[in-house]
């Protein structure tokens, strides 16, 4: 197979691209509507937006369709699109206590102020294949609501916001408090405008993880939880909800709300005491926040955030450079797949070396 130095490569390559397009369209089913992808595969949309680092559900749906459902490729398409947009400005940093919550749970206390709100989740489903989905009837929204939630009109009114569990613990001096002020005062490090260097600032760390690949982050966080690390996580609070995005007018400085984004936020309490021996013993905190509904990623991020706070890393997940340099899906996938490109010039060079070394060894043995 010559994908290469032989003339005609150009045509073969174009045919390969065309073949892929044909494969997507050749079936008997009607073409997938991007609206369907957006409405029915919303967790996938959320993951693509998070790893592609662009909050754009409609574009994410196109990317998924275009890449035939390859999660990594779809994120890549979105990220490449993002890179063509110039930076207009930065939104205003906010605390998340005003989040419009659609799900919030705490594993640290049985009952928490505001209560546990389970919201929508796959957590409590039985992982049994549901054969009824093979042929699903097209019923209207009201009928579904009536069937699934007959007592809907008797439900309690829903509060606008919920108190933060971790804030309560902070008030009791049970949790180490990061110097928040210094973070807010300085301009955030923008990893898309500057190459990250180590030790990385906190804003660079959190940005890099927010666009990290879920699987990669889960792997590192899992290794830490299992024992190659020191974090014993307790989920202080996990929230899914909508946060307002606000920007300041460039001249008159008044603040405008330009929209809202769905995010998942995880605050993980590490049950081992803080390492600073000079201070009183306290718990410490790891923080995770990502676009969309992706609890696995938010928790992994929080665990890694806590793990990397050690000054003397002993495990991979505690080493800032190791974690941040290896969790980007677009980078790791690109590099992994570039090995499919021809390498015969460098291989020829290596062949020359190994043949020579073999001859030398044989000469030595014969002596």
């Amino acid at each position: 197979m010559a994908y290469v130095a032989v003339k005609g490569g150009q045509k073969a390559i174009q045919n390969s691209i065309n073949f892929m397009e044909y494969n997507r369209k050749k079936g008997n089913s009607p073409p997938l509507e991007t609206e369907q992808v957006k409405e029915q595969l919303f967790l996938l949309i959320d993951r693509i937006m998070s790893e592609g680092s662009l909050y754009a559900p409609d574009l994410a749906a196109v990317a998924i369709k275009q890449t035939c459902g390859d999660v990594l490729e779809a994120s890549f398409v979105l990220r490449a699109y993002r890179a063509t947009k110039s930076r207009v400005g930065y939104s205003i940093a906010h605390k998340t206590d005003k989040m419009r919550v659609i799900r919030r749970i705490s594993a640290s206390f049985k009952d928490v102020p505001g209560g546990q709100v389970l919201g929508a989740s796959l957590d409590y489903t039985l992982r049994l294949l549901d054969y009824t989905l093979v042929k699903e009837e097209n019923v209207n929204r009201e009928a579904i609501l009536d069937r699934l939630f007959p007592d809907l009109n008797k439900a309690d009114p829903y509060p606008d916001s919920f108190p933060k569990i971790v804030e309560l613990l902070k008030k009791e001096n049970l949790i180490e408090i990061q110097p928040v002020d210094s973070i807010q005062k300085e301009e955030p490090f923008d990893i898309t405008r500057e190459s990250i260097h180590f030790p990385a600032s906190r804003s660079a760390v959190l940005q890099t993880m927010a666009r990290g690949e879920t699987g990669g982050m889960l792997l590192l966080a899992y290794s830490n939880m299992r024992g190659f690390g020191m974090v014993h996580p307790v989920i202080g609070e996990l929230r899914v909800g909508y946060l307002p995005v606000e920007i300041a007018h460039p001249y008159e400085k008044s603040i405008y709300r330009v929209g809202e984004i769905k995010v998942t936020e995880a605050e993980v309490i590490s049950a081992n005491f803080s390492s600073d021996t000079n201070s009183i013993p306290r718990f410490s905190l790891g923080y995770g926040l990502c676009f969309g509904h992706n609890e696995t990623k938010a928790i992994s991020m929080a665990v890694l955030d806590r793990a990397m706070q050690t000054s003397q890393p002993k495990a991979a997940s505690e080493d800032q450079e190791f974690v941040l340099n290896h969790i980007d899906g677009i980078e790791s996938v690109g590099f992994c797949n570039h090995y499919k490109l021809p390498h015969y010039v460098s291989f020829q060079s290596a062949l020359d070396r190994v043949r020579f070394a073999q001859e030398e060894k044989i000469k030595e043995i014969k002596k």
Partner: protein
Amino acid sequence: MTGKEWIMNQQNNKQTFLYNFAYLDENTKKEIRRKILKAVAIPGYQVPFASREMPIGRGWGTGGLQLTLSIIGCADTLKVIDQGSDDSVNAISIKKFIQKVCSIPITNDTKKATVIQTRHRIPEEKLEKNQILVFQVPVPEILRIIEPSDQVTKRMHAEADYSAIWLYLYEDIIHFNEISIGAGYPVMVNQRYIMDPSPIPRFDIPKLNHSRSLLLFGAGREKRIYAIPPFTDVHPLEFEDFTFRTEDFSGKTCSKCNASDVYLDEIIDDESGTRSYQCSDTSYCEKRCQP
């Protein structure tokens, strides 16, 4: 269509998706050009830059591509090669993309190109002052073979602490009576920085020394730019009693054009298993074959 016509077309045709000339926005180009200037000022030093995600795979030449796109103008003629070939997958997808976003003339002729983007080779024909060679770099850090951490290698470069890599070469000689590094052989640039020349064969290393053209290196995934300005001293690492050696093609010639002083690809025949050799630089080979 010329580059200028391309710009006009883009402006007139509001229906199509609009890209800036050469894809990157002007602020990005400005940043990359600044970093190139810094790299030229400090030969062999790796300058960090905020690499953009490109619409080709990270690791498929996005560093070289960003350099090319930020230096290219309407008057340029571009050549792109991969493994010495103008027609290889990587070269084709890059050319196709560049054509789409600025439609500047593309050539296979090394002599006619003003910018040449390359993966793993330096063309056989000698480059001139008016030409720029842009290398695609997978791993810019030559010290990675002895130290995985960037934080540490950065310090080693700063202090010119290169004992570990010298020791690596020495130990190779002790174990194998040969240095195991094939392509991407470490070079000392301007008596100061040890540099990764990208995975070019050792055969091409001498061409780096006192090159008449500017040599730019871009690593997109690793976010580094470095350069060798024209007429800079570039020498492979070697010992007085164990000198640098290029790939040995003695007694072998290209089966097409009969050249003997070029880098050759080894071709294994499907049926007989016999080996023949062909020029890795395909456009050079074609030129020689023409009557």
